[in-house]
Point group: C2
Chain length 459, copies 2
């Protein structure tokens, strides 16, 4: 435990990780107040790594570092920073540093930044932007939260359908500010409705005289501006999109989403699913104790209720337990095996629902499979546990625990699949709520089957 | 339950999902043996959706569909198909259909396909390729599994450092087969070592006479061919890369990885983490019952051992339990609350390790925070549960359960953070093994603290 602090990850994992040495060197420079050294150390670092660094140090170290770093503070660091820290860091920045930092950002990054801030901080950022950028940002903020409209960049390269390769190249050469990032030219009709995507690679490889319309990509997904970002991310993953045009209600081109933004959404959705499955709502390592405590509280409260429910089942059998105390010793085993089997089934089901692999077409097949898996594993462990009990306790108790185990693991497979599917059907996120329901079922069924059978056989 | 089959997802989730109607219509065409209708229905479908369809139907339906589909079978469907089904589907394809399907694929997709096949099926695919493609595929297979070498495509557009924009455009125009997908031109020195990346967008916007070297992107990550694909995916996500050159031991350019491939790896890693946290090793909905049973077995076996361990703790207190049967009723509550709090902490820790946010620099701060969160929530629930017990049982029992709850939830926060960190340090995947250890700790400590305190106070 004493060396826990200096984790030496194996070589494989060392890649791209901030080392303790990097962090110590930077903090030493901050402590010395040596701005030249600090800038020198930070110069080669990517904004994403600087953001990670700010997340890993304590809040006083963070404030000192930002203060010393001063006007060099890069807007991208704010974009990369964990949402829980943005407010704090923005509050630490001097207004002129903030203004400078924000002006460098692309429109979609500004929007991403604005989303998580309080109204006064939002206003500070709006003020830092020039008029045109401010208008763009305000308009983006008018789209629903977590929608394609918030995710897209407004900078698009569009071309009329009758253009040739040469026309497009000349247009781009003469264009004053092309987007920082673009991979396609979007072909549009006279009403600005996108009719095709052309990768830059194809334009590059084609003669100047060739019409753009001959180079259009086969697959073409158009994203409605109100679409949920989760569905956007799914489309990018499923159809291997690199960029996709975003359209308004009338089908007119209003922006473009690129795969790097979709990848971040995909990553966030995953994070959310993992944490929700464990009963932890969004949050991060940099949250304060009080916030984290609050966030974990609801799930623990639900768990307390379900645990009390299970203990009420036990209470029904208090006389038989006081006569046969072995029941108290053995009963948690039945509940625990059911709980684990149920968690396995529900995790698979929740994932399959999220990836749209579990649908109306195969739900019955999946349920049947989970029940069968529960039955087979239940039988195997019933034999093992039954034998142990016959040896240490009695044949009767061996039979009872074996039967209860099979029952509970079959129920676990059933509940682990049916509960997430039903929750999804009712519009409740199955990742969030399934765990509580499934473990309640397996606890109650486990205790009831075991103690009930025991009472019936032993009395 | 009767309508479980016709899940009507809310509108939001309907997007991009195969509807039951689509599936039924296709299966009806297969049943009728109506090839024209089948082709008509499948014509607008993306290969990824066809693969999903094949995953969702039963294996006899799958075989009939593939048989009727015949020579139209698209190689990309194989790429998109879940690994567990590839072998089966490839075995169902007639050799000439397989050969045709595979020849259409890009080199990285062929390699992805080869990876999961048995040697005879691999040979069948090698034979289907022409000599040049076969050589490329065999060489890629010589790189370690899950390495950048397996992930990359060999088709790269490279340019000498002295070229101008015009040189590059002319080269691409005259090039016979440009890669299907490319977003950068890689600038190389005379020994083919990459020295910079230029996005096509910048080339497009620049005059013909401008030297390429003036357009080079600031950030430039070069991926070693042996690097683990997990680290590759991390680099793409962290640094917002779109494509990155891959180099051999001598630093020479051997291929390029694009973000769409990195996104798939990221997705797979997440999937693996979620499933491992629930004690389910990789697998899919289409696996047979026997395979799924086998895969879930080890974790359940571990759980049985830990449950028995916990019950041995209970057995030490059998006399006090038979005197005070309320202890048997209440003890699962203490263990369950600890188990849940521990799972919350460990999930956060496992995720933070995976995203390189939990490192040597902040490990002590995180441990302190988790312990504090455990203590605060422990105190709150101790008061609640203590009060309940004072009311229904006795003040003494209320005090005992309150004390045990605080102890167990503090231990949960500690174990939930320290165990994943130590496992990672020992080179064991924390996602895989943490759960078993942490729940063992919380069960044992929970039962021991509660029953031990009770025995001490009550006897």
């Amino acid at each position: 435990m004493a060396e826990l602090g200096d984790i030496q990850p194996d070589i494989e994992d060392e890649v791209y990780e901030l080392t303790r040495r990097d962090v110590s060197a930077l903090l030493a420079a901050v402590e010395l107040g040596d701005r030249t050294l600090l800038l020198e150390l930070m110069e080669p670092m990517h904004a994403a790594d600087i953001a990670d660094l700010l997340e890993q140090v304590s809040s006083s170290e963070r404030r000192a570092l930002i203060e010393l770093y001063g006007v060099e503070f890069d807007g991208e660091i704010l974009s990369e920073l964990d949402e829980s820290l943005r407010e704090e860091v923005i509050a630490d920045l001097r207004p002129e540093v903030l203004a400078e930092a924000v002006r460098e950002l692309e429109s979609d990054d500004v929007v991403d930044l604005l989303e998580d801030l309080d109204a006064p901080q939002q206003e500070a950022i709006f003020e830092a932007l020039d008029d045109a950028d401010e208008m763009v940002a305000r308009q983006a903020m008018s789209y629903p939260e977590d929608s394609a409209g918030r995710l897209m960049q407004r900078e698009v390269v569009a071309a009329p359908e009758h253009w040739s390769v040469g026309d497009a190249i000349d247009f781009m050469r003469n264009s004053e500010d092309l987007p920082e990032q673009f991979y396609h030219v979007v072909l549009v009709d006279p009403r600005m409705r996108p009719i095709g995507n052309i990768t830059l690679g194809r334009i590059m490889g084609a003669p100047r005289a060739q019409p753009l319309s001959e180079l259009v990509e086969e697959l073409f997904e158009v994203i409605p501006v109100e679409q949920d970002e989760e569905d956007v991310a799914y489309a990018f993953k499923q159809y291997h999109l690199i960029s996709a045009p975003v359209v308004d209600d009338e089908g007119r081109l209003v922006g473009v989403i690129t795969i790097d933004d979709a990848m971040i959404v995909l990553d966030e959705e995953h994070e959310e699913d993992i944490l929700r499955l464990a009963g932890v709502s969004e949050g991060s390592l940099t949250d304060r104790v009080i916030n984290t405590t609050k966030r974990r509280f609801p799930w623990l409260a639900v768990n307390l209720v379900t645990a009390i429910l299970a203990s009420l089942v036990i209470a029904q059998f208090d006389t038989v337990i006081s006569d046969f105390v072995a029941l108290a010793v053995l009963m948690p085993i039945v509940a625990s095996m059911g709980g684990n089997a149920g968690t396995q089934s529900l995790t698979v089901a929740v994932r399959a629902i999220a990836t749209k692999d579990l649908t109306g077409s195969n739900v019955w097949r999946v349920i049947r499979r989970e029940v069968l898996v529960g039955a087979v594993n239940g039988l195997i462990f019933a034999v093992v546990m039954g034998a142990v009990c016959v040896f240490f306790f009695s044949p009767v108790l061996g039979g009872v625990i074996a039967a209860a185990m099979v029952i509970n693991m079959v129920v676990a497979g059933l509940a682990g699949t049916v509960i997430p599917v039903l929750l999804e059907k009712m519009g409740i996120d199955p990742a969030l709520a399934s765990g509580a329901f499934v473990t309640t079922v397996t606890d109650v069924v486990g205790f009831f089957a075991f103690l009930g059978l025991a009472a019936w056989v032993l009395i």
